[in-house]
């Protein structure tokens, strides 16, 4: 693996990497495959999938020499902190900005396959509509119900350890990797069905995050109510795929287990209150 400039690669280190990309012109349109060759050399030190897509956008010509349109994809931060650029790379869901070419295609002639995530409707090419990821955050009321923005003093004091746990949970960037990998989170194009289908590991983990906060707890009952309903925590089949693909190493299975226990207690108490 090379650092920024040392050791210096020589001109001979230049190699060609092929990108096989699933293209689709829009919803309901068929998928076709196009292959592009991108030269990787000293000029492009540190190249990643995005820098190669940028190169293809500027030179949209396939390996057969056919002129085509620039590929459409989603990206913002380019440092794996916004979650935008998620796609399926060589069969694995991950962020494309942190997919370094030196790692995924180290040799001349190596091929990289790029596909859109499959659990969300394709808008065009590699860009999918992930509104449902955000919608599901509303289902679990993923916020602290503060009284308003007027000055009312500081928030609750918190032990460093608790902060550390909350911080980790709070780095979830709604990228959707955990949903793409989950057998229970099936594609659902109709928003009307979103409220009754599986919320997903990310939302379960956010429910845990806000139930841990002194003020956030005020809504714990409502969150658990949502999680005991259809599409709630019981829908999780415990396949544990989610935790393996989370780029932020969020302990999703711990969160799911915690919410599972809390939901059970919630149902039992509710039963006796009736």
């Amino acid at each position: 693996m090379t650092g920024p400039t040392q050791p210096k690669p020589s001109a001979a280190d230049s190699r060609s990497v092929r990108f096989r990309i699933a293209r689709c012109d829009g919803p309901g349109k068929p998928t076709r495959w196009e292959t592009f060759a991108v030269k990787i050399d000293r000029e492009s030190a540190g190249a990643n999938v995005i820098s190669c897509l940028q190169h293809i956008a500027a030179h949209p010509v396939t390996v057969e020499g056919k002129r085509t349109t620039p590929v459409v994809w989603d990206s913002v931060c380019l440092e794996e902190v916004c979650g935008a650029c998620t796609m399926v790379i060589n069969g694995k869901v991950r962020q494309s900005c942190s997919a370094l070419i030196d790692q995924i295609a180290p040799n001349d002639g190596d091929e990289v396959t790029l596909e859109p995530m499959s659990r969300f409707p394709v808008i065009r090419d590699l860009w999918v509509d992930r509104s449902r990821v955000f919608h599901n955050l509303k289902r679990v009321k993923a916020w602290v119900p503060i009284d308003g923005t007027y000055h009312l003093g500081s928030g609750p004091r918190e032990p460093a350890k608790a902060q550390d746990t909350r911080y980790t949970l709070s780095t979830c960037m709604s990228c959707g990797c955990c949903l793409e990998a989950c057998p229970q989170f099936t594609r659902q194009d109709d928003p009307a069905a979103w409220d009754t289908t599986f919320v997903g590991a990310h939302a379960l983990s956010q429910a845990r995050l806000f139930n841990m906060h002194e003020t956030g707890k005020q809504l714990a009952g409502e969150r658990l109510e949502a999680l005991t309903g259809p599409g709630g925590v019981a829908d999780c089949g415990n396949a544990q795929n989610c935790v393996k693909v989370c780029p932020k190493n969020i302990p999703l299975t711990e969160s799911i287990a915690a919410m599972g226990r809390a939901a059970t207690i919630h149902s039992v108490t509710r039963f006796f209150k009736k």
Partner: protein
């Protein structure tokens, strides 16, 4: 609920803080963003957010000193009253974020932890690991989602702002485009808040996100909004060069004890660990004994640049220096985990064991849409001397002394009803922004100046003639203008062959290289003139631009090509203002005018666009310096002469380094 509506364009920290504040007051908000707001560029911010706090206060720090640091750090180019108000509000903003659930780092006893940051001798930076921006953005995103679920905020994500609708001198809405369906339509509003962030992409590769084109600001500018201090571009001293962007290594790395050095021997080929202490040149510590590694950014940047480019002391003979964290304890590494991960991931080395190799990169735009304010109640008969660090403050921190709370002029552009919040405006930071002051200014704008927007609806023109009374033709006109523009770009598809000169991506690449070489760390008159001419050539190429995609659905390259046209307009303003400021101040350093010249240039550069001729002119406008007298800004440098000895001509080193 009021019959008024407010449009907020941009859902970074500034836009979300504004949306929350305005929605809370009962006015419905339409929130536009080119990305889901949770993915806005603010998510990238790493190091922290400044505010006076109880520990620092007991050591002699005060809100007033924070204000003084901000003005001094900005080399006396910022209007002073707004900076005072911001510093006074800072502790309240931290408290509010804390209540929203931001996981600020904690001390053993459970209080908010603090770290040291550039330009201060006190610990006054609050942080959440090394992803503070992400955590603050998420807190505001969550509050916005709450209002959205209550129907008080309506989000238009993947909608691009195209143009403000201005009728009878006031802004009454916007025209925007759905990036998926490509539909262009107008939205009515009684006030519009622009919160669209910075313009790093004008420089090609920067630490900014892909969406930071500055196009939205450039469109307002072309519609008649003034643009302040375009020449003031912050180059951050420590970034990792990359093929698609440069990745920031936050100032917190130095605040937590990171040391910058190069081998004393030119072209030393030894591994860093093999170089004994005595043969390492800790140039910042040697030159600035008081501040050491935490001198402000413009100074650190020029020193690193000079050590590499003028002295040829860069590591392995390249344009790079070491940022060394290897001596720090594991607990500190844990606090910096977010950025250490970035380095590990993108540079392939572990900074816990190997010093990082970094170089300066374009990072932040102090300049932006020109805005006004209503002066607060603190008005000394004459400006005071610079505050002595740790001394008792001359005033307390009561609100309303810097700016009048709720005044409708606060953060308003020269157009009535059109406001600019966050990085997109030119306020607070003058010629150089202090680290961890940007997040503060964004949230401050949203919360403090958001109240002025609501008051404008209640007592300004919209109270008598709300948006519903504005004639439809005002909106239709702008829609037609934008449809024409779109058609003229789409119509270039298939015309001619693969002309490299007309390729929008290559025009953008060339623009970035040119501006980085001519308008960043070191500038000079002749080179700037050349830059202006080259931007002219790029504009000519742009007029012959050819698009490769004629799709009428989700045409991304069309959107990019349109933004390139707007970036070229901004580039003109940046180069022209750099030419006209014949002095050196903060981030603006001219080898042909190496000194600060207060008599002639302690003024804001205000760029104005002539729509008929499509040209930019820059005027110098007086600024509010009524609170602190300007002093030389040396940060206690040992040998102040060297700063002026730098005779190097601007080189393409920056462009090369980021290539």
């Amino acid at each position: 609920m009021s019959s008024h509506r407010v449009i907020v364009v941009g859902g970074g920290l500034a836009g979300l803080a504004a949306s929350v504040r305005i929605a809370e007051s009962g006015v419905p908000v339409d929130l536009f963003s080119v990305v889901p707001v949770k993915r806005s560029h603010s998510v990238c911010a790493q190091g922290g957010i400044n505010a006076c706090n109880e520990v620092a206060r007991q050591q002699g720090y005060s809100e007033y000193e924070h204000f003084d640091e901000t003005i001094y750090g900005g080399d006396f180019l910022a209007d002073q009253h707004p900076a005072l108000e911001m510093a006074n509000w800072a502790p309240k903003i931290i408290d509010l974020l804390d209540r929203m659930g931001v996981p600020f780092n904690r001390t053993a006893e459970g209080f908010r932890d603090l770290r040291l940051f550039g330009g201060s001798l006190f610990k006054r930076t609050h942080f959440s690991g090394a992803t503070t921006g992400q955590q603050l953005l998420y807190a505001l995103d969550e509050q916005t989602r709450r209002y959205e679920s209550e129907g008080k905020v309506t989000k238009y994500e993947f909608w691009e702002f195209l143009w403000p609708v201005i009728e009878d001198g006031r802004c009454v809405g916007i025209v925007a485009q759905d990036m998926r369906t490509m539909q262009i339509r107008a939205y009515r509003a009684d006030a519009v808040v622009m919160a669209t962030g910075g313009c790093g992409l004008v420089f090609g590769r920067s630490t900014n996100s892909t969406i930071c084109t500055g196009a939205a600001a450039a469109r307002c500018y072309q519609a008649g909004v003034w643009y302040g201090n375009p020449e003031m571009i912050q180059v951050h001293p420590t970034a990792i060069p990359g093929a698609d962007k440069t990745r920031l290594m936050s100032e917190s790395a130095r605040g937590e004890g990171g040391r910058v050095w190069v081998p004393r021997k030119k072209g030393d080929t030894r591994k860093p660990r093999e170089i004994p202490e005595a043969e390492r040149y800790y140039f910042l510590e040697e030159r600035y004994p008081a501040y050491g590694n935490i001198v402000p950014r413009d100074i650190a940047t020029r020193e690193i640049f000079s050590v590499c480019v003028n002295d040829g002391l860069g590591v392995y003979g390249e344009n790079q220096v070491y940022l060394d964290l290897t001596h720090l304890p594991a607990t500190t590494h844990h606090k910096l985990e977010g950025i250490l991960e970035i380095y590990k991931k993108f540079a392939g080395e572990d900074p816990q064991h190997e010093p990082m190799r970094i170089f300066p990169s374009v990072h932040y735009s102090m300049g932006g849409l020109w805005t006004t304010f209503a002066k607060g109640s603190y008005n000394p008969p004459e400006p005071r001397e610079k505050h002595k660090s740790g001394a008792a403050p001359p005033i307390d921190s009561r609100i309303g002394q810097g700016m009048q709370p709720g005044a409708i002029e606060n953060a308003r552009t020269n157009i009535e009803g059109l406001y600019a919040f966050g990085e997109v405006n030119f306020a607070y930071h003058g010629a150089n922004r202090l680290g961890a002051n940007a997040l503060l200014s964004c949230i401050f704008d949203g919360l403090f100046c958001g109240v002025g927007v609501v008051n404008y609806l209640k007592s300004g023109t919209p109270s008598k003639s709300p948006h519903g009374t504005v004639s439809q033709s005002a909106y239709d006109r702008v829609v037609q203008q934008e449809e024409r523009k779109a058609r003229s770009i789409i119509d270039t598809v298939g015309k001619g062959g693969d002309d490299e000169a007309g390729n929008p991506y290559l025009i953008h690449r060339d623009l970035g290289n040119e501006l980085t070489a001519a308008c960043t760390v070191v500038k000079n008159g002749p080179r700037l003139e050349q830059c202006l001419a080259r931007v002219g050539e790029l504009k000519e190429r742009y007029s012959r631009m050819k698009l490769a995609d004629g799709a009428t659905w989700t045409n991304q390259s069309f959107g990019f090509a349109r933004a390139v046209g707007d970036m070229l307009v901004l580039a003109d303003a940046i180069a022209l203002a750099s030419i006209q400021r014949r002095e050196s101040r903060g981030a603006h350093y001219r080898t042909d005018y190496p000194n600060r010249d207060d008599a002639n240039f302690m003024k804001s550069s205000v760029a104005k666009f002539d729509a008929a001729k499509r040209t930019t002119t820059v005027e110098l406008v007086d600024l509010d310096a009524s609170l602190i007298k300007p002093t030389a800004r040396t940060y206690g440098k040992k040998d102040s002469a060297t700063e002026q000895e730098k005779k190097s001509t601007p080189t393409a080193a920056m462009a090369r380094a980021s290539a």
